[in-house]
C-alpha cells in the first residue's frame, strides 16, 4: 500500500483514506510558491470524498486557486460497502461544484478519455485557474485489500465479470490495433516485457536482505540517534 518514489515526485500512497489529499494541496502550494509549471495531481477513491480532510483540502485548493488536479477513481465501493449506501448523490463530481471548481465525469475504463480529461485539468491549472476535478467511473477486480476477486458477500460475482468485459487495457489494445498504431504481435511483446519486469521486481524483492534490526530507529528523526526517548 505504501508505495512512494520521491525521485518521481510521487509523495506516497496513504494508509489513511483521504489523508493524502491535504498533502497534495500543500504540494500544489509549493509549486505555485516556486512559480513552477508543475501541477499536483492527487488520486483517491469515491469513499475518500466522504472524509472531512477531502472537503477541507478541496475548499482550500479552490480558495487559494492552487494548481491541483483532483482525480477520483470511482469504483463504486468504499471498502466493502456500495457507494449508493454511503452518499446521496448520483455522481461524486457534483461535490466539486460546492467548492467552485470545474469537474468532468469520464469513462474510467477508456484510457484515451481519461488522458484527454487529464490534459485539460493540467492546462487549467497551468493557466492559473486553480484546481479541477475528474471523476473516472471505473471498477476494481480485487478487494479493498487482498487479491480475492470472487465469492465475496458485498458484491455479486456477475458484476465483476460484467466490468471485466469492459477492461481498460483490453479496450486500449483493441483501439491501437484498429487504428493500426501497433500490431497484435507488438502488443503481445509489450505484455510479455511488462510481465518480465514485474517478475524481476518480485525476484528483487524476495532476494533483498531483511533490514538489520538495528535500523529500527533510523529515520524517526532526520538526525541519527535522536529517537528512542
Amino acid at each position: 500500500m505504501h508505495i512512494c518514489d520521491l525521485d518521481l515526485n510521487m509523495l506516497g500512497a496513504n494508509g489513511i483514506v483521504g489523508g493524502g489529499v491535504p498533502i497534495a494541496v500543500g504540494a500544489g502550494f509549493a509549486n505555485r510558491y516556486r512559480e513552477t509549471d508543475d501541477v499536483s495531481v492527487v488520486f483517491f477513491g469515491d469513499g475518500a470524498t466522504n472524509i472531512g480532510a477531502f472537503h477541507e483540502a478541496a475548499n482550500m485548493a479552490a480558495a487559494l486557486r492552487l494548481p491541483v488536479a483532483f482525480i477520483c477513481e470511482n469504483n463504486e465501493y468504499a471498502e466493502y460497502t456500495r457507494r449508493d449506501r454511503t452518499m446521496a448523490i448520483d455522481e461524486v463530481a457534483e461535490r466539486a461544484a460546492a467548492y467552485g471548481m470545474p469537474s468532468v465525469v469520464v469513462d474510467g475504463m477508456d484510457a484515451v478519455a481519461v488522458w484527454s480529461a487529464t490534459i485539460s485539468a493540467l492546462q487549467w491549472a497551468r493557466e492559473g485557474k486553480g484546481p479541477s476535478f475528474i471523476e473516472c467511473k471505473t471498477y476494481r477486480y480485487y478487494n479493498h485489500h487482498g487479491v480475492q476477486t470472487l465469492g465475496m458477500k458485498y458484491r455479486p460475482d456477475e458484476e465483476v465479470e460484467e466490468w471485466k468485459a469492459l477492461d481498460a487495457i483490453d479496450r486500449l489494445e483493441a483501439r491501437i490495433v484498429l487504428e493500426q498504431i501497433m500490431t497484435e504481435d507488438d502488443i503481445a511483446a509489450v505484455r510479455e516485457s511488462v510481465a518480465e519486469e514485474v517478475q524481476e521486481a518480485v525476484v528483487f524483492a524476495e532476494s533483498s536482505p531483511d533490514p538489520d534490526p538495528l535500523e529500527l530507529l533510523d529515520h524517526v528523526y532526520s538526525e541519527p540517534g535522536s529517537a528512542g526517548q
Binding site: 520521491l6 494541496v25 483540502a57 487559494l64 528523526y221
Partner: protein
Amino acid sequence: MNELTDAGRELTYLAAFNEGMRQLMAEDPDVFVAGEDVGVQGGVFGSFAGLLEEFGERRMVDTPISEQAIVGLGTGAAVCGLRPVVDLMFMDFVMIAMDQIANQAAKLKYMFGGRASLPLTITTNAGAGLSAGAQHSQSLEAMLCHVPGLKVVAPSNPRDLKGLLIACVREDNPTVLIKHKKMFGVSGPVPQEMYEVPIGVATTVRSGTDLTVVAYSRMVVESLKAAELLAPEGIECEVIDLRTVQPLDIETVISSARRTNRVVVVHEAVRFGGLGGEIAAQVQEYAFDYLDGPVTRVAAPFSPVPFSPVLESRYIPDAARIAEGIRDCLGLQPANG
C-alpha cells in the same frame, strides 16, 4: 545564550515571537506562514502583526477554518522543500488536525525510508487563565509527545520563545511550538540578533539543594514564585525549565535529582496521563537509589478547563499549590497547619 549581548533590551513574549518570525522570513525565502487570520489580522493575539505588510500575501497566507488542510498544506509544502510555519490558533484545535499531525507529518520521513525531509513548524497557543472555556484553554502537549517523529517545545519566557522558534523553523523535523497565551504580556531580556535555543536541552533556572522542581511553559514562573515563598523557611529548591518536552532532557533532571534526592514535577495539563507520570517513571528508573521519597506531581485536576474564573483559578496550579506539593514531597506539614 550568555555570550549574546542583550544591552538590557526587553521584549514581551509576544514581541519576541514576532521578532523571531520576522527575522526568519527575512533570512530564508522558503519560510512562509499559513493559518487562520495570520495575514490581515496578524493573528488573533497579534503574533504575526506587521508580517503581511512586510512580506506580502504570497508568504503570509490566510486560510479557511480547516485545521486538517492547514497542517496538510504545511506537510505537503515541507516535503516539497519549503519551510512552512503553520499556525493553529488554539492548542485545542490540534485535536482537529491530529490525523495530519500524528499520522502524516510525524510519519512520512520514516515511511519514506528517510528520503524526505519535513521542516514543518506548527505554532499554537495553549493554556488556561483567560476564562476562555473548556475548548480554548487546554494543555495537550502529552498527546503530541506520545507520537514518534514530532519534537515539542514549550518556552517559559521571551528569550527562550524566540530562540526555540528559530531552532524549530531551521529544524528538518516536524516541530510543535507551544506558546502560553497568558504569557504574551510578560517581558524579559531578548537579544536582538538571531540565536537558537537548542531543542532538547533543559536549563536550571534556580539552584538549590533540598529538592528539584521540574516544570515547563508558564508553570516555570509559578514554580520560581513557590521557591521564593519557601526560601525564608530555609527550603532551597532547584528549578529546572525543561523548555523542550519531546525529546526530554532527562539527564539534566536525573543529575539534579541525584543531588537533591527529591523531585516535584509541575504542569498545567491534567495530572492523569500527563508528562509528570513519564518524568516520575524515568526518575525512578535512573535515580531510584538516590530518592528519599516518591516523586510528587502538581498538576490540574482531571476536569475540562472551567469557564468560571472562580473555578478556573482553583483548576490551574499556582505558586501556593506548588509550595504545598514541595512541602508534601519533603514530608512537611502544610503551611496552614
